[in-house]
Symmetry: C2
Subunit: 654 residues, 2 copies
């Protein structure tokens, strides 16, 4: 790879704007939180995904098309091609980052099979348009053809940015051209039931400098919202955001991943076309959604029924859907909004979501995953059969594969490119957005070599040291994100130590070789209270520590306790322990329920609520980082803990 190609190995590259994310090769991670996840992804997850897709026949679907052997039935859902494309994207980033030959070989062998299935006119889909199958584009609402193509285009953009044009890029170009002919300004005014083609077209258009693709993305964005998609039984048009045009919508609604991919595509179109009205619409939707429809973990999606957003303030912890893919999609949207606006709040939400949704999904070995990420699990799961396809891993056990298995490959592509979100460059200003140990060599717009060595145990420790190894001979600025939760942070540089408030901390006039900048982020556990309008967690408090949301697991309770009845003494501050905390807790007694007694269980009519009796059972209970829950085995779990109304005897007198 030459330097020119590597310099563009960024996750997203708006055609205009002063700000760019760093390329993957600009930040070499050292051992640490994300490096370990990336390593597990590399060593296990990539191969794991391919094995399952081979086993289930999803990869062979391409061979059946190339061999003319299609039938009226076919393994996998209609969108299974997209899983192969997301894996291709993951492999593209992985090879771009590591240069490992086996990754490239795997990618190329898959691309050969995919390419062989492409029709002469560029159409590429293993579920439609061949012998025994429904005609092309005959079911835009549910068929997912354009959705699959979008993922193909994203994979090709990743490939183009990491190694330059190749066979995958050529396949994608022909597919994109076919889409533009079919659905272009003079073609059919259709749109796909699952947004994604918008993203793919915008990204491939950037890489290939092809304005037709950007225009086609814009057309797809603008066509949505007029109720033209055929209804799916028992769902309404908001399910696929066909209820209100993107620029008119106030908030995200319907299927969360659909809503978020659409928003990301709209943000791309807005950036490349200079459409500030469209950008403002997406920002407005983000703001309202984050304010009223987002979990403490950053998770989005309150309903299982449609894998969708609920109404404002509808945020049940137990039935949180908070799909892993929605977390990833939220990171994608926030990243685009950060690039377009430079506002720190987008990077704050990305951190929250990366640590508490994205990182929660995979097991340490990268071979099993959460699909839904609830904040409360009442019953320890009965266990998932380890070698089976599972519905959606709702029971508190990570599963190796799913019936609809969008999350594993989505995680694979996200983790493979993680450092692309860690820093940005604007002129001669380098901004650290996410903290991880490693060596950062950001390509400055003004040229010259800047090398920063970052040392930290973040998120388990709040100390971040930035050491200047090399720097150009001119003024370069370092900007550090002080997270929204980090009240009391301090920064020490050549000018001495000072307090820094959430937002941006600037370091100027110091970036000479040998200079050291020490950031200290406060890592004491803190109590976090929900808005009074979030009914589902009224009277509860959560404990956070740095960027990590903590939780209580039934495994850590005395055997006679139940998570159904624990109370936390919010007047007795949790203290740090290990990488979690301990909190002062008690079980409360539940009213007896004598069979045949008058009074309708589980409701009691009386002038006052039952007094909560806790006897003298107060004790310290460990809280662990949410992302690690259920790793030690099946467990009940709570993020939000009911607060004892009167505290413990020791704190009552305060």
């Amino acid at each position: 790879m030459d330097n020119d190609t590597r310099a563009s190995a960024v996750i997203v590259e708006p055609a205009a704007g002063p700000r760019r994310g760093i390329g993957l090769d600009e930040f070499r991670l050292a051992d640490g939180f994300w490096e370990r996840m990336q390593r597990s992804n590399s060593r296990n997850t990539l191969r794991h995904c391919l094995d399952w897709m081979d086993r289930l026949g999803w990869t062979a679907n391409f061979d059946r098309v190339s061999e003319g052997a299609t039938e009226d039935s076919r393994p996998g859902w209609q969108f299974s091609d997209s899983e192969i494309y997301k894996l291709l994207e993951a492999l593209a980033w992985e090879y771009g980052r590591t240069g490992e030959a086996w990754v490239n070989a795997l990618l190329e062998s898959l691309v050969d099979r995919v390419a062989a299935a492409q029709d002469g006119d560029g159409y590429l889909n293993t579920c439609f348009g061949h012998a025994g199958q429904q005609p092309r584009y005959s079911d835009l609402a549910s068929g997912h053809e354009l959705y699959c193509t979008g993922h193909l285009l994203q994979a090709a953009a990743a490939r183009a940015r990491t190694v330059g044009p190749d066979k995958l890029v050529e396949v994608a170009r022909r597919a994109a051209d076919q889409v533009c002919r079919q659905f272009g300004p003079d073609g059919r005014a259709g749109l796909c039931g699952h947004p994604e083609i918008e993203l793919g077209l915008a990204e491939l258009g950037r890489v290939l400098h092809e304005p037709r693709y950007t225009e086609q993305a814009r057309l797809f964005v603008e066509r949505r919202g007029y109720g033209t998609l055929k209804a799916i039984p028992l769902l309404d048009a908001s399910y696929f955001q066909d209820d209100v045009p993107v620029r008119a919508a106030a908030v995200w609604r319907g299927h969360a991943v659909r809503a978020l991919y659409l928003a990301a595509g709209a943000a791309d179109v807005a950036a490349d076309t200079g459409d500030t009205g469209l950008l403002e619409a997406v920002e407005r939707q983000w703001e309202r959604t984050v304010e009223r429809r987002t979990y403490l973990t950053g998770g989005m999606g309150s309903r299982h029924q449609d894998e969708g957003f609920g109404e404002d303030w509808e945020l049940p912890p137990d039935r949180a859907y908070s799909e892993t893919c929605a977390g990833i999609a939220s990171v994608m949207v926030a990243w685009r909004l950060y690039l377009s606006t430079g506002e720190v709040r987008y990077a704050d939400l990305m951190e929250r979501t990366l640590y508490n949704v994205v990182a929660a999904s995979p097991s340490p070995d990268g071979r099993s995953f959460f699909y839904a990420n609830p904040l409360h699990q009442r019953t320890a799961a009965a266990g998932i059969r380890p070698d089976q396809v599972n519905p959606r891993a709702e029971g508190g056990v990570r599963a190796p594969w799913f019936d609809v298995s969008c999350c594993p490959t989505n995680l694979a592509r996200t983790l493979a490119a993680w450092q692309g979100y860690a820093a940005s460059v604007e002129g001669d200003t380098v901004t650290l957005l996410q903290y991880a140990a490693g060596e950062l060599r950001p390509a400055l717009d003004g040229g010259g070599e800047l090398v920063l060595r970052i040392t930290t145990e973040y998120p388990h420790d709040g100390a971040v040291r930035v050491e200047v190894v090399a720097a150009p001979d001119r003024e370069v600025e370092l900007r550090l994100r002080i997270p929204d939760w980090a009240h009391g942070a301090t920064l020490a540089d050549h000018a001495g130590e000072r307090g820094v408030a959430p937002g941006w901390a600037h370091v100027r006039g110091v970036l000479v070789p040998g200079a050291i900048v020490d950031l200290h982020l406060p890592m004491e556990p803190r109590l976090t209270w929900p808005d009074v309008r979030i009914d589902a967690v009224r009277g509860c408090v959560a404990v956070e520590r740095g960027p990590l949301v903590l939780c209580a697991e039934s495994l850590d309770l005395p055997v006679s306790w139940s998570l159904d009845t624990v109370r936390i003494d919010a007047a007795h501050p949790p203290r740090a322990e290990g990488d979690g905390a301990v909190a002062w807790m008690t079980p409360v007694e539940t009213p007896p329920n004598p069979a045949g007694a008058a009074g309708y269980p589980p409701y009691r009519s009386s002038a006052a609520p039952s007094r909560e009796d806790s006897a003298s059972a107060w004790r310290d209970v460990p809280l662990v980082p949410y992302y690690r829950w259920a790793r030690r085995g099946s467990s009940a779990m709570r993020v939000f803990l009911p607060a004892a109304p009167n505290g413990s005897p020791a704190t009552t007198g305060r």
Copy 2:
């Protein structure tokens, strides 16, 4: 109709046991709550249902079969035949109760069309087994063929009990025989994905004294729970109760209507075969479900995703599914358990469910319906198009018809036969179970004429007068149900006035003509607190009055208030007003959410929760009976009201 036939016009008739419900013609309702619902059902709902089914082509499906004109597509879901059968059951009860000729004519004309579609061997279904259709019983998990047949058999049982054997009964007999040949001891060991055939076979077996049908019902009950039904994507075997055998299950789970129809069928089988183990299993499931998985309204089903039960304590008020049909099915189960055990708790739950789920569904004109019955509606609905099929009326507006339209016909058959649940007879003891004005002429086992005139405005008033108009010349006992909520009830009879506790009150030695018994049930509004384990309504209280659950509607709030932020002063007792109450309430301020401020909305880290500031805005707010919500127009609504932690200034000093 002769007296013999009328005497058996009961809703359910166990083959054995000392207790029977009264026949429909044994209790003539006078003007009152249920009489008005019954009148609206009679005048509007019956015809309304038929009109919609004609309009949508569901009735014509029978003609297409009889004309040999079936095609591979067909209007309606695969279970639409069952709606015609539920309407037939409603018409059968309606005619049995009223003798109105137009009802009988309507029934007979429908029966002619149904009968014409029956195949030579008795098989009857308009979706399977004919030209262009899938073969018979080729999709037991989802095809609903046996489910439809079950409803046909229930309709025939109602007809046989009200007019005796006729064409409908003959059609049902042939259909039942075909089922027994196909699925009998020597036939295919299959079962239906939706229980119902068990109920139908048991009931028709009773009417026709046909033990083969009872045995076939027993086989279907016993076959379930071994995971033999083909899985439905994204659902597991618990969805149709095929996960655990009926006699081994601890609690109801999965799709609520399926679980409850199965329980009702199992209770029928248990009663007729003397299988106490099976009966105890159903009782145990009832107890655990009522204790942990039932709403204050009596509603069952906490999840939209699978229209199903959630886990223990999972009772979100906003996403309560509480399907109208599940409420009806719960009444059906409780009625069977009451008949088998004589325990008052079953009649208590029936009352709760009848007033707060069943009565909540229809509009006063009987032409629109709730499908789901949530206990909290955050956003007033945008309105439902009055002349359209709607998905499920989740938005707080009753809809005229649904895509899956099981509730309207289910209501029709339930309301048409309501008085069948109102009283029971055991030897010479008559038990009043549900209170309504009218003339009760229970057929005593020992013969002789007993006529009781009941005068009451119940549930809007707690006074119930029972006047003896005629009585046989021997000791007859009257037993009155004192509801579980009725602490402080009094009874006045010849022996004077005395307090009566929840349970049974006995009146003996008084039933001579002219005697008067006055029951007074306390109707002051009362506060009702949820079990501490019901997370979703922590810190909240409901207000009930008599058998009615009350609710606050946004229509009744000052315009500047929002139901999202109201608090009730639980130390300031609500007082009765009209047929509802008024409660002392205030809005609380929500923390400001300045754009760009540090802190992640809507969660705040701090040592203590935000103080809830309420200024001096306390005022009386009306609460109305839940069953009437959204009748005055689209409205937000809450049953459970967050209690102000410190009460209002006026009560703080207490």
